[in-house]
């Protein structure tokens, strides 16, 4: 009897060992083949809905393969001391995925280029801190500024937003459908405040967060585990594709629903005849955007920091082929692709906010050099985020403009002599 039991245990152990060896072989094979799957770099958060998970790391694979390290404070950036080093100019960049720039190595992002260019020009240490989080709207950016940025004591705050961000300000037209726990500001008694749903958002369960952290870290370190996660998400996507549309839409669509290609939202932000959007929800989105920018400006002023609005470009604005641009404008009845940008610029001027429109100079560069500033070989340069060239040109443009006009930089530069 004992012999049988020993043999059974031995056979099970051998079998488990063989399976383990096979799994190790698959893991090695995936690594040798250079296979990477999208890492999980987020964590749920009550205040902003979600944030980057501190100390997480893994591959970004959607548009370009790049290894991303999130620092201990949840920034896609190197470590920074909370206290600003003496004699250093600190610039905080707040924004969405365009600012976070996980598609390319950190030393090639516009923040890194801005840092280098300004350090070179002033001869003084300059630090640019990247507070960008993919998917953030202005409400989350405002909460980031208010609750996270000031502990680093920056003298300049740059809010980097594309006109697409405007759509993220109203729950009912949030691009992509259900925004989940994303916070929204609405008007209550004429004042902008967090809406009821955002205020009542539950604090994420600490045990679940801990589990999430451990499981995500394990997954990000193993291609085989990442494959399991990717298959799970792929299965969900397939089910969503074949599932019939829900009959009772809780959200009434716009006169025409925003297209799935978020780079083609101009018809919803701009109209043929007027710069003012006609759909009341879009009007609300613009109003909320402007008031959130006012609140951010006021917050920066209260902390004696300079406030800049960087209006980023969108893909079609910097399309290197003029015919493609013209076709797009004609198809969507758009006399210009800059109406929303000019609207933001006019707002900023009226509010005394430093404003920089990036689309016009980037557009000129793209036409002159027939260069794609967005996209990567992986997607055949068909849209997406800035590539290395886009970051380089944008970083130099921002550095040049800041150097010319920023009082904080001028003060730093004047102490050089």
């Amino acid at each position: 009897m004992r012999v049988i039991r020993v043999r059974l245990i031995r056979d099970i152990a051998y079998t488990v060992g063989m399976v383990f060896i096979l799994l190790a072989a698959f893991e090695t094979g995936l690594r040798l083949a250079g296979v990477h799957y999208q890492a999980s770099l987020y964590i749920a958060e009550k205040q902003r809905g979600f944030a980057l998970r501190p100390n997480s790391e893994g591959w970004e694979t959607e548009e370009n393969d790049n290894y991303v390290h999130i620092n201990s404070d949840g920034l896609n950036d190197r470590e920074h001391t909370r206290a600003r080093p003496p004699g250093t100019l600190r610039i905080a960049v707040v924004g969405s995925s365009e600012a976070e720039a996980r598609q390319i190595p950190r030393d090639q992002t516009f923040e890194a280029i801005l840092e280098r260019e300004l350090s070179k020009a002033t001869g003084k240490p300059v630090e640019v801190l990247n507070f960008g989080v993919p998917g953030y709207g202005l409400a989350q950016e405002y909460l980031t500024l208010k609750n996270h940025v000031w502990q680093y004591d920056p003298q300049i705050v740059l809010v980097a937003m594309s006109v697409f961000t405007v759509l993220k300000n109203v729950r009912s037209i949030y691009p992509g459908g259900d925004p989940g726990n994303v916070p929204f500001f609405t008007y209550q008694g004429g004042n902008l405040a967090l809406d009821e749903q955002s205020r009542q958002a539950a604090e994420p369960d600490p045990k679940r967060l801990r589990y999430k952290q451990i499981s995500s870290d394990l997954m990000n370190r193993s291609e085989l585990l990442s494959l399991i996660n990717e298959a799970r998400l792929g299965l969900q996507r397939r089910i969503a594709e074949v599932r019939p549309p829900q009959p009772a839409e809780t959200i009434a669509p716009l006169s025409k629903a925003p297209p799935s290609d978020y780079m083609q939202v101009w018809p919803y932000l701009e109209t043929k005849d007027s710069q003012a959007p006609v759909d009341p929800r879009l009007q609300e989105a613009w109003r909320v955007a402007e008031d959130l920018l006012r609140m951010m400006h006021a917050d920066a002023s209260a902390h004696h920091a300079e406030f800049w609005l960087l209006t980023l470009d969108m893909v079609m604005q910097v399309e290197p082929n003029p015919q493609t641009r013209a076709d797009f404008q004609q198809r969507n009845h758009l006399p210009t692709l800059l109406a929303s940008d000019h609207r933001l610029d006019a707002f900023a001027q009226a509010e005394g906010i430093h404003s920089l429109l990036l689309a016009p100079p980037l557009s000129q560069y793209a036409l002159d050099h027939k260069a794609s500033l967005h996209g990567f070989p992986k997607n055949n340069f068909q849209g997406g985020h800035w590539n290395e060239l886009g970051h380089e040109i944008a970083g130099k443009l921002i550095a040049s403009r800041l150097f010319q006009e920023s009082p904080s930089l001028r003060a730093l530069y004047s102490t050089r002599e």
Binding site: V19, G176, L224
Partner: protein, 81 residues
């Protein structure tokens, strides 16, 4: 269903030879077992169990590869937990 094979083509688009060689050896191994399944080779119990388990795990991995990268991604869904 017609797109189930997409996962394979996206396994490693920049290393097709490596993927091809790995696939070739897998096919050779499968063919070897097919040709010898009726032979009088007596596997020990642990060998038979290992073979069955590894075959099952391999099939699961194949299914995972097919499912991965399937379906149209929603460009607005950022924080998938």
């Amino acid at each position: 269903m017609t797109h189930l094979g997409q996962g394979f083509s996206q396994i490693s688009p920049d290393r097709p030879i490596l993927v091809g060689v790995a696939g070739y050896f897998l096919m050779e191994a499968a063919d070897y077992f097919r040709r010898h399944q009726n032979a009088n080779t007596e596997f020990p119990r642990w060998g038979q169990w290992s073979l069955d388990s590894c075959t099952a795990v391999s099939l699961v991995v194949v299914v995972l590869l097919m499912l991965a990268s399937g379906g149209a991604r929603n460009p607005f869904l950022y924080a998938i937990f």
